[in-house]
């Protein structure tokens, strides 16, 4: 369904994607795991065409999105849904209009049908009755669920989730995880999830890809990842402070930094 080949992306000195190649199978849930700054969100933005890679290709439905014109890219986007980290709801529209928005823009569906579709999508995320609230009146978890309802309103073939559970309480996390799994099993939607939440990722994933500073250090099923002997993978999934993955990011000497006067450490 989606194939990434030799993707390279750098921001100045920082390498966000270091020759990344991977596949996202149809009708499967693939989770991209990694710590903060490991390049997982950047990878997602390149897969969806929101950012252009320095080199490499992203094949979606057999077409290279990095070389597609804006028109074909937009045509393909109609088959994609995306749940943003901050939900990205339109703050000037109420919940109903937020969810109805893609339908109003891309279809000529009559108002009473739109109303039924919105009601169905809201029921799926358990938020029927919030139609006339504004996004600012909802909690973070509810906003994510509305964002999810908006992402599926056009019945996409693929949904991309950018950190769907970060900053949520345990129950909301569980609810979102179940929704992702349900959408995948009941509607056969291919799912690509970017996350650093190990527990919920292991619950929903068919395949896991672990990124570490722009490199894929492991990929496979949940069982394969859990049985991995790679020290970096073990450290990441156990969340251990000791291991090959350093906590500090500074490459200058700590002692030098303490002994240098009158200058901000760089």
């Amino acid at each position: 369904m989606i194939r990434v080949e030799n993707l390279v992306k750098t921001y100045g000195k920082i390498v966000a994607c270091n020759n990344v190649s991977c596949r996202f199978e149809e009708k499967k849930v693939t989770v991209i795991l990694g710590g903060s700054g490991s390049g997982k969100s950047t990878l997602l933005r390149q897969i969806t065409g929101l950012e252009k890679p320095d080199s490499g290709s992203v094949f979606f439905d057999g077409m290279d999105l990095t070389r597609a014109t804006k028109k074909t890219l937009y045509e393909k986007r109609k088959k994609m849904g995306m749940l943003f980290q901050g939900s990205a709801l339109f703050n000037y529209l109420d919940i109903y209009e937020n969810i109805a928005f893609p339908l109003r823009e891309h279809t000529r569906i009559a108002d009473n049908v739109i109303k039924n579709i919105v009601t169905m999508k809201l029921e799926m995320v358990g938020l029927r009755g919030t139609e006339h609230l504004m996004p600012s009146q909802l909690s973070g978890g509810m906003m994510k669920r509305v964002g999810l309802a908006r992402a599926i309103v056009m019945d996409p073939k693929v949904i991309f989730y950018d950190e769907p559970t970060s900053g949520l309480d345990p129950i909301s996390t569980g609810v979102i995880g179940k929704l992702i799994k349900d959408l995948n099993t009941k509607l056969g939607i291919t799912s690509v999830v970017v996350s650093h939440d190990i527990t919920s990722s292991f619950k929903i994933a068919d395949k896991i890809i672990i990124l570490y500073y722009g490199d894929i250090i492991a990929q496979g099923t949940v069982a394969e990842i859990q049985n991995s002997t790679d020290e970096r993978v073990v450290q990441f999934i156990t969340g251990s402070p000791e291991g090959p993955i350093a906590f500090t990011r500074s490459d200058t000497s700590y002692i030098d930094a303490l002994l240098t006067d009158n200058e901000k450490a760089t």
């Binding site: 933005r45 929101l50 986007r77 994609m80 943003f84 980290q85 990205a88 000037y92 891309h106």
Partner: protein, 257 residues
């Protein structure tokens, strides 16, 4: 040392040129997208409501008091020469040629320009532009183009409204309060104001409308994606737009006279 200064000036100039270039491309894209199908009439009407119709009260109050002050000042100056009959033409000409377009534009900058910059900046920090892109909707066409067109359409209308209210304010003070002859007030006005005056004022307000929506949209769109970035963009919008209005006003006046 001297070279350092020269280098700094060079860098600053380059940075400025870059900003001007980027904002030019930005405006071109917005206008280009505005004339591509599908036309977004309902978005345009919403934006005209926001920039134009919601500015009515503030423009009304500004115009009324500007006209009243002009009536007062004009009367006291003109009576020294025994020429108080000319009050109508003095008030009308200063409002139609200068004060109407400029003050109206400055008020709209403060009310709508800052709000536009903040709104676009907030859309940016909350990922609403990539969200639009993911829904296969061109963000510039959907968000920016209607605002730019609405600015160009709203400002001349608001300025015409300003002119009428301002002249009425001068009438209130000059004729009703200070006792200038009503017939003289209006007949001198009619004979003094030419079509070129009104036309010039409208050209100015068109340009100011474009300036306001262009600068405020660009500032919001290119704001850094942080809360400080948005607040800086909002402040800069008001400062930059107000100053450009005054500068462009001088240039236009010298061209139109």
């Amino acid at each position: 040392m001297n070279l350092d200064i020269a280098a700094a000036i060079g860098r600053a100039t380059l940075a400025w040129m870059q900003v001007i270039g980027r904002s030019g491309v930005f405006l071109f894209l917005a206008v280009f997208q505005a004339f591509r199908r599908p036309y977004r009439i309902s978005r345009l009407i919403k934006e005209i409501e926001f920039i134009g119709s919601k500015s009515f009260l503030i423009v009304f109050v500004t115009a009324l008091f500007t006209g009243m002050v002009l009536g007062l000042q004009g009367y006291h100056t003109l009576t020294q020469f025994g020429a108080q009959a000319l009050l109508g033409s003095a008030v009308a000409l200063s409002i139609i040629r200068e004060l109407g377009p400029v003050l109206c534009a400055l008020m709209v900058t403060g009310r709508a320009g800052s709000a536009i910059a903040a709104q676009i900046g907030i859309m940016k920090i909350t990922d609403q532009f990539p969200a639009l892109e993911m829904m296969a909707i061109e963000p510039v066409k959907y968000v920016i183009s209607p605002k730019i067109l609405a600015g160009i359409i709203s400002l001349p209308l608001l300025t015409a409204f300003f002119d009428i209210v301002g002249i009425f304010g001068g009438y209130l003070v000059g004729v009703q309060l200070l006792g200038v002859n009503q017939g003289a007030y209006f007949s001198k006005m009619i004979s003094a104001v030419t079509f070129a005056d009104i036309y010039g004022g409208m050209i100015k307000s068109l340009c100011f409308g474009l300036l306001i929506s262009w600068i405020s949209c660009f500032m919001g769109f290119s704001a850094q994606a942080t809360t400080e970035g948005v607040s800086r963009a909002t402040t800069q919008t008001v400062v930059v737009t107000s100053l450009s209005i005054l500068v462009v006003d001088y240039i236009l006046t010298s061209l139109l006279l």
